[in-house]
């Protein structure tokens, strides 16, 4: 059963507000809770402004959470100091892959120095020789030609750059990797390369992924479980097949109905479901487990109707 599996990340009532107390206060993430199990791929889906990227950045502590707890391997990391030894340890365990292959690599650094950045910070290699050897291994792992380690990022294509970003994240041997829209800036034929690579590495090293995206078909493919975010809240969370086959929340339904399918016959008959954005939430609603492993943001009455 799901509950017996080891939890690597537990998010409890996480809130991330910006410009607190000012007229332009933004509740980017508004009281969300979820668990991520060891070894799984947890998909986080939402449209722009839903708070999905903010959630990822709060978990990896690029932001200081406004409220709530983030347990990583049972330890609360939401309040550790940003430059203490605890934080340094945590920085090795959790890593991030970024969206924009053009902005995520320092244009003034050689590929080998980009990849070795984490090795240098944490003192994982001794001497230039070992450093170079490790960089070669990492480049090999992401199927890049190690001969190119002295080149600069702009000489690589988008897909190759994204793989350099993956190598940089994996250099410190993390347990948990947050991938923040890692393929949305890539071409279709290249997306599959990157997704396959991520899956291979996951199998080899037993990694846990949190995969943030707006492309639902790819998320469905890569994820074991999916959470759908809307306006800073998780509105539905379930196994990926379950979400696709039996979406319960109206927003999830509208999102699924909008995915274009590369098949003209299906496209001809596709019916879009519109979602009414005017009154999405009411005060009596919360995220509740309405079916085993299937969570829905709803009120008690709706929840009872599934029993």
């Amino acid at each position: 059963m799901a509950d017996e599996r080891e939890k690597i990340v537990q998010v409890r009532n996480l809130k991330q507000y910006f410009n607190i107390g000012k007229p332009n206060e933004v509740k980017a993430v508004d009281d969300i809770s979820f668990d991520i199990y060891k070894g799984e791929t947890f998909g986080l889906v939402g449209e722009s402004g839903s708070g999905k990227s903010t959630t990822g950045r709060s978990i990896i502590r690029l932001y200081d959470p406004t409220d709530g707890q983030i347990l990583f391997n049972g330890q609360d990391i939401s309040k550790i100091k940003s430059h203490g030894p605890q934080m340094k340890e945590f920085r090795r365990e959790m890593q991030m892959i970024f969206q924009d292959p053009y902005a995520s690599l320092n244009p003034r650094m050689k590929v080998k120095d980009i990849i070795a950045e984490g090795l240098d910070v944490h003192g994982l290699v001794k001497g230039e020789e070992e450093r170079e050897k490790r960089v070669r291994e990492l480049l090999d792992m992401v199927h890049l030609n190690p001969e190119h380690m002295t080149r600069y990022p702009y000489e690589f294509s988008g897909g190759q750059r994204q793989r350099i970003g993956i190598a940089r994240a994996l250099a410190v041997e993390p347990q948990f990797v947050i991938a923040d829209e890692p393929i949305s800036a890539l071409d279709v034929s290249i997306q599959a390369q990157v997704v396959n690579l991520m899956q291979d590495i996951q199998k080899e090293q037993g990694l846990t992924y949190m995969f943030i995206a707006h492309d639902l078909s790819m998320v469905k493919y890569i994820s074991d479980r999916i959470a759908v975010m809307y306006h800073g809240k998780i509105v539905e969370l379930a196994d990926s097949d379950e979400i696709y086959n039996h979406p319960l929340h109206a927003y999830t339904q509208s999102l699924l109905s909008a995915i274009p399918v590369p098949d003209p016959e299906i496209e001809k008959t596709r019916e879009r479901i519109d979602f009414d954005h005017s009154q999405p939430f009411s005060d009596d609603q919360s995220l509740q487990e309405v079916l085993p492993g299937h969570f829905l943001y709803c009120n008690a009455e709706t929840a009872a109707s599934f029993k």
């Binding site: 449209e47 279709v188 390369q193 396959n196 707006h214 274009p260 590369p262 016959e265």
Partner: protein, 348 residues
């Protein structure tokens, strides 16, 4: 069917510090009245440059080296800058990817929509504004009369793209070129915009050239499809030809690398290995050969001609040569062939 646009053997080069980049290497197509032609390709394949050449909106270092672009038999490439101004935004108009940068942030939207009319037609300001209001209603801006005085930042991303479309269609152009109009938008908004374009096409009968990298979007909007790779069309045909009877290995690769909703994690995604060629020194043979699982010796020596698959369906691959060996396409493609048979097509 009426051919309104004919592009013949278009070659476009770009002068760069490293040398001449041959971005478009011989593209020919035509566009019929009232149809939607989708050009699909990855970034750098030259799909945007192809359509920008039509309106001559290319960067300064571009050179249209060869070819002709006939609009009702008139070569647009021979036209003066002034002659082009009478075509742009009037007979042929364009929608770009980013709705925010396509709108002037300092001008109320009503005025922006009315502007093409004031430039091209002899209409009074009052008439132009009335027309702008009508078009804004047509593209689904609620309460257009009141909102015409609003500025772009007061609208959401999807609404902004609707306004951009309104500007493009206010003069009821014959051809609407949409360059990745939905790429920057969320899926639900994307679906709305595509529905809107289809609806507008019905109402005003414009032809659409739709540029995208997303095959899902193509399936929903196109009548005919051209697949572009490394500055050339590798395959073109009707939407059913391309989706159910694809012949070029690159088209196979594209279709095969997309997960469908019933692809589960058990069957791995098929990716096209490698990256597109550098068009600074385009390969002598087939540009796709280095990434092609089915590459043959001839691919490295000579560029394949267009082989006719059926009426109006052509593909540039040596695999269609009678002497070529029979290859086994990916499983998902075979499924598509099955569907083609069900739809009454004949598969080779």
């Amino acid at each position: 069917m009426d051919k309104i646009l004919e592009v013949k053997d278009l070659h476009v080069n770009f002068a760069t510090y490293n040398g001449t980049v041959q971005a478009i290497r011989g593209v020919s197509f035509d566009l019929n009245a009232g149809e939607t032609l989708a050009i699909v390709g990855e970034s750098g394949s030259g799909k945007s440059i192809t359509v920008r050449s039509i309106l001559q909106l290319l960067a300064k270092n571009a050179d249209i080296a060869k070819g002709s672009i006939l609009y009702h038999g008139d070569d647009l490439l021979q036209k003066s800058e002034k002659g082009m101004d009478n075509i742009r935004g009037n007979k042929i108009s364009m929608i770009f990817q980013d709705p925010m940068t396509s709108l002037d942030p300092t001008m109320p939207i009503g005025k922006q929509v009315a502007e093409p009319l004031l430039i091209h037609n002899n209409v009074s300001k009052k008439d132009a504004m009335a027309r702008a209001e009508e078009v804004l209603r047509l593209v689904g801006i609620p309460n257009p009369k009141a909102r015409m005085k609003d500025y772009p930042h007061q609208f959401s991303g999807g609404q902004r793209q609707r306004i951009v479309i309104a500007i493009a269609i206010v003069d009821y152009p014959e051809i609407l070129i949409a360059d990745e109009p939905t790429t920057a938008l969320d899926v639900t908004v994307q679906a709305e915009i595509i529905d809107l374009l289809k609806e507008l096409q019905q109402k005003i009968g414009t032809s659409i050239i739709f540029i995208t990298h997303d095959l899902g979007v193509v399936a929903g909007i196109a009548d005919r499809v051209a697949v572009m790779y490394a500055g050339k069309f590798v395959e073109y045909g009707s939407v059913n030809d391309i989706f159910y009877n694809p012949q070029h290995p690159y088209t196979w690769g594209l279709l095969d690398s997309m997960p469908t909703l019933d692809t589960s994690e058990a069957n791995r995604l098929n990716s096209i290995p490698g990256t597109p060629p550098n068009l600074l020194n385009p390969p002598k043979g087939d540009a796709f050969a280095p990434r092609n699982k089915y590459a043959m010796e001839i691919d490295e020596e000579e560029q394949p001609p267009y082989f006719k698959v059926s009426k109006n369906h052509y593909a540039a691959t040596w695999l269609l040569h009678p002497n070529a060996p029979k290859v086994d396409p990916p499983a998902s493609i075979k499924k598509r062939f099955e569907k083609f048979k069900q739809l009454g097509g004949s598969v080779k």
